[in-house]
């Protein structure tokens, strides 16, 4: 237990896997396949085009300790993050990668099982090394099923990260969410924590015909932490995945969403706001695959970057040959609050159908001096005036969050973020 892992990059994770393999739950074959991928290729490096803007080198400088500990009868007390208007909502809480029944409020209309108790949930990492890392070491997670025609209401999925008595820890939760035909759910994922750790969650989402999921995420991990997350969503005929991510946390974050629209008239929204300062680096990478006709996808991605922060947005829209009448839209806007902040934006369209509508745009700018002067000339102090303009910039993305309580929580988070910077 808690043995330091030697080495860097994938080697340390592989060494840990070798030590743990017999104790990890579920089928061994997918883990072995993941291990083979990581042994062969290691973690992604700068020569990989998809990782051009985000380097994992800082990750390899740190020796992560294993976080595989049973919660036992007397789990360590941990504080829940600020939940604002969602404080009484059903929630599943994971601390250091492990489910905490004592902190959770089980959802009524949703079937909940733990990852280890569902043997058929075998991760299929494919060639993607970020997913392979999760497959290799996944120990726990939520397996959630919403029955056809059921409105699951709202559910919070909370990840609390921490170091292990001062030593860096890593955890790799694997969640599965399946919505039956015409089922509905608002899933609010909140990641928070303190200290140095690697949070490497994967969530697999399957939306059957006509299902509707609002997937609202707040990544407020510790600013010393690493966050490498992936969402894989399959969206059937007439189903809708409505995603919004607010990113304020982690020193280095990469969040990938792969949305596959498999049936006609499927819809995916992958909206995000990344709000960073100091030397934070956050990468929001999306792949929307339109496999069927009449699909729609929407992406509004906003970055607010202060100090030396760096934001990355990579958005790829793939339209398969048969996916006629696809309608894809992507907008990436960055507000740079400091001359040392940086945004890297890479839109990519791969279109193999001839009757589609796809567009993308990007803007980068600083705060408008005329607007700032107007506000200050009315007596509003400059920091408050800047905050109002930042809030206005993010407003368009926040307005896309339909759930009032979740939107209020995001607003409160942004308010607190801004006030934390005020002199």
């Amino acid at each position: 237990m808690n043995a330091p892992l030697a080495g860097t990059s994938a080697a340390s994770f592989l060494a840990r896997y070798d030590g743990l393999a017999d104790r990890l739950p579920g089928a061994r074959a997918p883990r072995e396949a993941a291990a083979a991928i990581l042994r062969e290729a290691g973690l992604p490096g700068p020569r990989n085009e998809a990782w051009k803007y985000t380097s994992l080198r800082a990750l390899s400088d740190i020796v992560f300790h294993e976080a595989l500990t049973e919660a036992g009868d007397h789990p360590a007390p941990v504080a829940l993050p600020h939940l604002g208007p969602l404080a009484d909502a059903p929630r599943l809480v994971f601390s250091a990668g492990r489910f905490r029944a004592d902190l959770s409020i089980l959802p009524e209309p949703i079937r909940f099982r733990r990852f280890a108790d569902v043997p058929d949930v075998a991760a299929t990492g494919g060639a993607d090394r970020l997913l392979a890392l999760n497959t290799l070491l996944a120990e726990d997670g939520a397996v959630l099923d919403v029955a056809p025609g059921t409105d699951g209401g709202i559910l919070l999925l909370i990840h609390l990260g921490s170091d292990l008595n001062g030593a860096p820890a890593s955890f790799h939760p694997h969640h599965v969410l399946r919505l039956g035909a015409d089922a509905a759910l608002t899933l609010v994922e909140i990641a928070a924590g303190s200290g140095t750790y690697l949070h490497n969650p994967v969530i697999d989402i399957d939306l059957a015909k006509g299902a509707r999921l609002a997937h609202l995420r707040l990544q407020a991990d510790s600013t010393q932490a690493f966050h490498l997350g992936a969402v894989r969503a399959t969206i059937a005929e007439d189903a809708a995945y409505d995603g919004f991510s607010l990113v304020t946390g982690a020193r280095l974050a990469r969040s990938e969403i792969h949305a596959r629209l498999t049936g006609p008239r499927a819809h995916a929204a992958l909206n995000a706001a990344q709000v960073l300062r100091g030397r934070q680096h956050a990468d929001f990478t999306t792949i929307v695959s339109h496999d069927a006709p009449h699909g729609t996808s929407r992406q509004t991605v906003k970055n607010v970057l202060d100090d030396h922060a760096r934001g990355v947005f990579q958005g790829k829209i793939e339209v398969a040959r048969g996916a006629q009448k696809t309608d894809g839209y992507q907008m990436n806007q960055a507000l740079l609050l400091s001359p040392d902040a940086e945004i890297d934006s890479k839109p990519q369209l791969e279109i193999f159908a001839d009757d589609v509508k796809c567009s993308h745009g990007a803007t980068v700018g600083a705060l408008d001096e005329d607007q700032l002067f107007y506000l200050t000339s009315r007596g509003i102090p400059k920091p408050e005036a800047s905050g109002m303009l930042v809030r206005a910039f993010l407003g368009e993305a926040l307005a896309l969050v339909q759930h009032d309580g979740a939107r209020a929580l995001f607003e409160e988070t942004l308010q607190a973020w801004w006030q934390a910077a005020a002199p």
Binding site: F373, Y374, T376, G379, I380, M388, L389, R391, F393
Partner: protein, 249 residues
């Protein structure tokens, strides 16, 4: 109240104001008239603290305090208000929220209690009604999609709510029709008191039919060429700037 002494200001290397002297006592309204490019708007911006202009000589005192060392928000908190010639659009910022934030920033700076949302809304609605503004202008984003006249009325609304000690109206009449001009004039006249002064910057005499000034100053080439009573405005309207400028030369 306001004392401008030998004020020089430039943009980059270019001098715009070349020695301005104006004193506006408490309760008085002064008009500044002059042709395009005379420095009228520069004077308004310098007084309100815009950073694009460098003050190279002279002084400005506001209620005895050195105005030029104060940040724009401090000037506003001290009671200075600039009605912009071209009010700025703020997409994503609601007009009511903007106004309440401004009012409470000023109240806070003066050690007064902040005004709650309900009380504020009642006040704002009453003022908007007096200016013949529809209620929905409070709900809309600041100046976004406003007509020229609506923007100017929104400036007067802000002034009515913030209750400045000194208002600078920078060509508030431009782009207004006759009815709007009267409404704006009424808005300013409603504030007239021993504790309210104004500098009304305008091209034309017509706003001064509604807001009758105590003094009129003619600005050309960055200098005050003549000062006089309300009659001077009418003389300018009749004779044109060229004549007055030539006489002064």
């Amino acid at each position: 109240m306001l004392e401008i002494r030998d004020l020089h200001a430039s943009v980059g290397e270019k001098p715009i104001l070349r020695g301005i002297d104006i004193a506006v006592p408490d309760g008085e309204i002064h008009a500044i008239m002059g042709p395009n490019g005379s420095g009228k708007s520069t004077l308004a911006y310098v007084l309100s603290g815009r950073e694009d202009f460098a003050v190279t000589e002279g002084s400005v005192t506001f209620d005895g305090a050195d105005l030029l060392t104060m940040a724009p928000e401090e000037r506003a908190q001290a009671g200075l208000f600039l009605a912009f010639q071209a009010p700025v659009e703020l997409p994503g910022v609601g007009n009511a929220n903007f106004l309440r934030t401004a009012l409470n920033a000023i109240r806070r700076a003066r050690g007064e209690a902040e005004m709650d949302a309900a009380t504020f809304l009642k006040l704002a609605r009453a003022e908007a009604k007096r200016l013949h503004m529809p209620d929905d202008m409070l709900k809309r984003n600041v100046n976004v999609g406003f007509s020229g006249g609506e923007k100017k009325r929104n400036e007067v609304l802000q002034m009515a709510i913030l209750r400045p000690r000194l208002a600078i109206l920078d060509e508030t009449d431009s782009g207004l029709d006759i009815d709007a001009l009267r409404i704006v004039g009424d808005g300013v006249n409603a504030l007239r008191s021993e504790k309210f002064s104004a500098l009304v910057i305008t091209h034309h005499q017509r706003l001064l039919d509604h807001i009758v000034p105590d003094r009129v100053h003619v600005l050309a080439n960055g200098r005050i060429l003549r000062s006089g009573g309300p009659d001077l405005a009418r003389a300018l309207e009749a004779q044109g700037y060229a004549q007055v400028i030539a006489e002064a030369a």
